[in-house]
Symmetry: C2
Subunit: 394 residues, 2 copies
């Protein structure tokens, strides 16, 4: 039967990045796209033992229905971690377990956005976030990201000139896709602007722990006295993404609505992933695992940047990130959507910048590279192939 999708879903296209997964069926393909964490650091032996123990010792806790808020002991453990590692003080009625960071954004959108309401996003920004807002019919307004984060003056003007701004969406640490980290001054300024204009901030922080030099700037949530920051955390990049496990820390009155949204979305997050993360953090020091990730990603980033220096034409500029998973590149005068299609022919995947734009139909000169997924030799070979394609254009 033919049918018409709802108005809210009409502007939504699939993530090109997730579509590229399919091209990965070709074993000769090298992916500098995607954002898969390094599989070699998954603590699979430990999780194997923990899963067996949980299902033996606490099968009902893992297999029966649970509460929509999420497992209480896990929420307490995360709050402890947040206090210690992010200076966030929150209580049990301010945290909800969700099925990954994507769901946090989706539920917040559902709760807050009427169709046509505006969301201010960093330009460029994470495609999954943009799509969640789009899927509720939001009007997306981009504000440029500079080397120290969102342009504050432009943000102010945008708020003045845009009706019904309900949300500002930011990834302050090692932003996806730009790799940029927002300065402390800008975090404060952003917080004050949101507070003074009664606009919620989604602070999406999947990459904050992946700092190469160990330096971490204060989270915006740690400054939040007014209750305007909705903090989204995730285990995808510090434990394993296949668990689909994240959490949203929000003021109590907002969390009540999140729990309703969660209940109507999927009742509650699968319990075994919740208990695996809890028990892992009880038995092991997750900080040690994070240290290993930092060291590995720093090394892999160095490999990628080294290859880029050697094999990419000089007019391709990029920012060397201080953490995270991505390097953002600029190819002046080049339509990177076309570039990306040429790259597929040469068996290398990159993500063209239009994916991260509020208007995906515009020509974009940016593209994103990932260094966490591929082994070192493939990182180098991938950049070589990319360089070969770029030579045709430059």
């Amino acid at each position: 039967m033919e049918f018409t999708v709802s108005e809210r879903m009409k502007s939504l296209k699939g993530s090109a990045i997730r579509e590229m997964f399919k091209a990965m069926a070709d074993p000769t393909m090298i992916s500098l796209a995607g954002g898969n964490p390094a599989a070699e650091l998954f603590p699979s032996e430990e999780l194997s033992q923990i899963a067996a123990d949980i299902l033996k010792e606490n099968p009902v806790g893992a297999l029966q229905y649970g509460i929509s808020e999420g497992n209480i002991a896990l929420r307490e453990k995360i709050l402890e971690m947040m206090k210690e590692r992010e200076k966030i003080n929150a209580s049990l009625d301010e945290i909800t377990i969700v099925s990954g960071g994507q769901q946090a954004i989706e539920i917040v959108s559902k709760i807050l956005l009427n169709e046509g309401d505006s969301v201010i996003v960093e330009a460029p920004s994470f495609v999954g976030g943009l799509n969640a807002f789009r899927s509720y019919g939001a009007n997306l307004v981009g504000v440029e990201v500079e080397s120290d984060g969102i342009n504050i003056e432009k943000l102010k003007k945008t708020i003045e000139n845009t009706p019904n701004v309900k949300l500002i969406y930011t990834i302050p640490n090692f932003q996806n896709p730009s790799g940029v980290t927002m300065s402390v001054e800008k975090r404060k300024a952003l917080y004050e602007i949101a507070r003074d204009n009664d606009i919620f901030i989604i602070e999406d922080n999947p990459y904050g722990e992946l700092t190469f030099d160990g330096v971490k700037l204060p989270t915006i949530k740690s400054m939040d006295e007014a209750g305007v920051v909705l903090y989204s955390g995730s285990f995808s990049k510090i434990l394993a993404p296949g668990l689909r496990l994240g959490y949203l820390i929000a003021p109590k009155n907002f969390t009540e609505k999140v729990v309703l949204g969660k209940q109507v979305s999927d009742v509650h997050t699968a319990l075994l992933p919740q208990l695996l993360a809890l028990e892992f953090m009880k038995r092991y020091d997750i900080g040690e695992l994070i240290e290993k990730m930092r060291a590995l990603y720093k090394k892999k980033c160095d490999v990628l940047i080294g290859a880029m220096k050697e094999y990419l034409p000089e007019n391709i500029t990029y920012t060397v990130p201080g953490g995270g998973l991505f390097v953002w590149c600029n190819a002046p005068g080049i339509d990177t959507l076309k570039l990306s299609n040429e790259c597929i022919k040469e068996k290398v995947l990159i993500v063209p910048g239009n994916n991260f734009a509020t208007d995906q139909s515009l020509v974009n000169n940016g593209f994103r590279l990932n260094f966490s997924t591929m082994p070192d030799d493939k990182l180098v070979e991938g950049v070589k192939r990319l360089g070969k394609v770029l030579e045709k254009y430059c």
Copy 2:
């Protein structure tokens, strides 16, 4: 900060049933509410071994990102099961793995419903389904359930008199909460009406396997030549609900949108639950587990009905179900919301009928009892307590 929820979320209240979970913290409370499957049949030893094996042998498959459609081998296995057990013939591009049946309804609503569109639901119906529709601003129109399913004449008239009907939501087997099973004739009639009016049917079938006498009527999906049936299946009642694992079988053009909706909701369903179900079905005969459930639930239903005959006043009427988890009761002249509150004082939980109504504010004489969760002696004691409260009214 004070805030206003979106229009679509304004009509949404939490599930009173899930709120009652909290009253269960009192160990002297007996729950005849809820719909938890019997925990003693969770195959926890088997799943413990399987989880350990998966995380050892295929850690990347369980812990890395997966595809939004869901694990291919699991989808193939479910399609095989559907063919064999439900006479549903579908292909790989017609099935999406979701995080439980609730999510299937939520995503379908997101895809199809503009705010103000109408959804026809059985009266009474499953509160989670009703809430999913409400959460997209749907206009809910109830059509009475008779002892052999939805009233077909009234359904026809309702469609004639209601603008923008996009969906008909039905639970044809051992309906929640009424316990009623729709006759084959009505299934055919319902299908033809939907087809002729270009309206999708959600056929929600979590309880179909839990037939006491082994008799199963054909699914509506098995009659679906026009592609109007969206079939929602779940592992919650045949394996374990804490896995949050279900699937939606829909025409290919619809499934494409489901995958988009899934991607934007939570990227994909957690992989370990997917692989646990797959591997369980490979190593064991899930049909044998289902047989055990049928036998246990039949026995527990008999215990409940026996106690009801002994301890409830004669004017309380009810239908004896042929399967599923619930017995629906009618208490003429009694406001069952008040009754339910009195019951809490006597330490027994029942679900008042207003929860299952399109307009929850109206006085309702129905209430739902569950027999799958409590041990036999508590089923009897719970009914005794309920009888004591009812005596005050009758």
